[in-house]
Amino acid sequence: MLAAQLSASAAWAQQSSPPSTAAPPASESPPEPAPASDTPALSPEEMSEIEKALGSDTSTRARPSGSTSPASPTATNDSGVTPLKLPNAISSGTNFLNLSFILDMALAAFSSKEPLQGGGHDPTQNGFNLQQLELSIGSVVDPYFRFDSNIVFSQFGVEIEEAYATTLDLPANLQVRAGQFLTRFGRINSTHPHAWDFVDQPFVMSRVFGAEGNRGLGVEASWLTPLPWYVEVVGSATDAKGEATARSFFGATPERVLSPLDFQLTGAVKQFFPLSDDLSLLWGLSAAAGPNATGYRNHTSLYGTDVYVKFRPITEQSAQQLVFQAEVIYRRRQVPEDVLSDWGGYAQTVWRFSNRWATGVRYEFGTPAKTQEGRVANDPLDPEWIANRQRISASVTFWPTEFSRLRLQAATDRVGWRATPDYSAFLALEVVTGAHGAHAF
């Protein structure tokens, strides 16, 4: 959904000041009505005259002189760019740039010496973990584009998670994103930890896509169909490289792009059904295909479906919400002389039982990769994964306000290739400061 469009933390009101004509005071008469559609159409000659005049205008228009506002004497005078004023944390209406910082940290305890935590933002060791410090910057660029980015600081450096432009004014219900972005495969992939109901990422994501989830440099087009219910069709082409972002494809191997088939191609259909005022169903189907590194022209294809059901009574006074979310991903990889296939997924339900409290359970599973004959294969990516893995987590969340969150989570990880189950517990804190992000559904 729009979810991917704009992660919960990275969407803000476009803060252009309203035009001075926004609303005439009551005493004034309203502006002259714009010519309505009943005005006679222009003749082709007139049109061509207009086009010609406009053409000569553009060819003689001066370049922006880059004159800067007196408030910013530091601006260089040849860029034509006025420097951006950094906003006060929550001022609105006059600033061009929205900044927000999200801090996630967790105190963790694991029974295992080597916990199998695959997500890039997961707590991974006993004691304190800095999951991430995420800086979200977003803004309208001009009437045609908006810009969104998520830059993540960790103890090991800085990483551009997302930085992309979104079109605002394409015809025919089309929208294009270009830059580095999380693909809209499934539901959870395109979201950030701030929007998750659990402290860590479902392991199917890190197993199939990598620690950071599936993202890449590329371009995406999405189309809102004119059907009477919400049907959105999404297609993207992204680079297929990155151990943490596309491991089932090229992954860490430095392959050259020689044809369009060397990109990861992703497609998805998202449908939304408002079953009633209180009950909503969002259903997605996704597929992705791209080259993998096991040999010439070997491909990986992924198929997924995701379901999100939300019950939130709004026709009566209630703070309760009940949410069910599930995703399943089927992966098929061509390897020399064989085809490997495996399944993974998760299902979770979260009950927000009061304004500030919620509790939830999550079940996850992953099967070992099987050969075409159905035997457990020697998986080139995860050689140890020779049996089923299941994990069950339970969490309790407390929100002091919508800008802070405390979460207690416990999990048992039934790893088929380990002798005993692993146990873990997390106490996580999240604070959000800066511009107020808009939440996706």
Binding site: P31, G93, Y230, A319
Partner: protein
């Protein structure tokens, strides 16, 4: 082959939908049912009005459901309350709507807060330690019919600008609405004349415009800070204040929880008055009827007959 045929049929269906003739009417989407009611009063049968939020919903916390984006996708005019009231959900919908007409700053976007005399505009630096503050001012201005009238005028101007053909109709509708509202307002003021100077307690900071209009005094809020739910020690303080200053009423919107408000009202004792959170626009209620209901409830509260 079969799937190909199915695909062809689907394409044909989509083309049919796409080619359906557009209605001549102006499609208006309002974020709140109160705004929708004003838009309907001005637009009459020339406009098709949808409200994104229900009156039973807290307008701060609306889910950005995709079907709401669908309504925005087809809208010619979006009317928002502004002042960051919808900041948690509207921007997502605006971008997802793929409709340039209703983007902030364009002709199809009307921020109603620009039309009113604002209350509670912070004069000092604010931050979120003060709760969920609205740095631009209090956004609950439609409790005051005088502000509603200013908004209706602005809506009329914008509709006439977007749809010049029907400008005369919009003007006539506005004139009718103005006359009805001012007549009703005089009646309401007469009925509530006894409210002047009366001390009341409110749940959330929604009463700024109402008290500016009717002249009562809000002495305390059940929320310790805007958006922070009541806690025992704060409620105890409010109760003490209410008793000491002889509060006559406890006001709360119907989307806020009742138990604590009931308790405080019974202990003071004061009348508990549940204010309608908005116009029941889908149920066919008009802004005047909604205000009339609110006035009746306040009147009952004034005579000590709360709930």
């Amino acid at each position: 082959m079969r799937s190909l045929r199915l695909f062809a049929a689907l394409c044909a269906a989509v083309v049919c939908f796409a080619a359906a003739p557009a209605h001549a009417e102006l499609k208006v989407v309002a974020t709140l049912p109160d705004l929708a009611a004003l838009a309907k009063a001005v637009g009459g049968d020339k406009v098709d009005v949808t409200s994104l939020a229900l009156p039973t919903q807290d307008p701060h916390f609306v889910d950005a459901k995709p079907n709401l984006a669908l309504a925005l996708n087809r809208a010619d005019l979006l009317i928002a309350a502004g002042l960051d009231l919808e900041i948690g959900w509207l921007p997502t919908l605006q971008v997802g709507a793929r409709n340039n007409r209703i983007q902030t700053g364009n002709d199809g976007y009307l921020d109603a807060s620009r039309l009113v005399n604002l209350q509670e505009v912070p004069t000092t630096q604010v931050d979120r330690s003060q709760g969920d503050v609205h740095p631009g001012g209090n956004p609950h201005y439609l409790y005051d019919p005088r502000q509603a009238l200013a908004v209706a005028r602005g809506i009329e101007a914008r509709m006439s600008q977007l749809d010049g053909k029907n400008a005369a109709t919009y003007k006539a509708n506005l004139a009718k609405f103005t006359q009805e509202l001012q007549a009703a307002q005089a009646g309401w003021e007469k009925r509530l004349a006894g409210l002047k100077g009366v001390p009341v307690i409110a749940y959330h900071r929604t009463t700024a415009y109402l008290q500016d209009w009717l002249g009562f005094t809000t002495i305390a809020f059940l929320e310790p800070k805007p958006g922070i739910p009541p806690n025992p020690s704060h409620v105890a303080q409010v109760l003490a204040q209410g008793k000491a200053r002889k509060a006559r009423m406890v006001l709360k919107e119907d989307y806020y929880p009742d138990s604590i408000a009931k308790l405080v009202a019974s202990k003071i004792p004061a009348a508990l008055v549940t204010l309608p959170g908005g116009t029941d626009f889908r149920g066919g209620q008009t802004y005047l009827q909604r205000m009339d209901l609110m006035v009746s409830r306040l009147e009952q509260g004034l005579t000590g007959k709360g709930e």
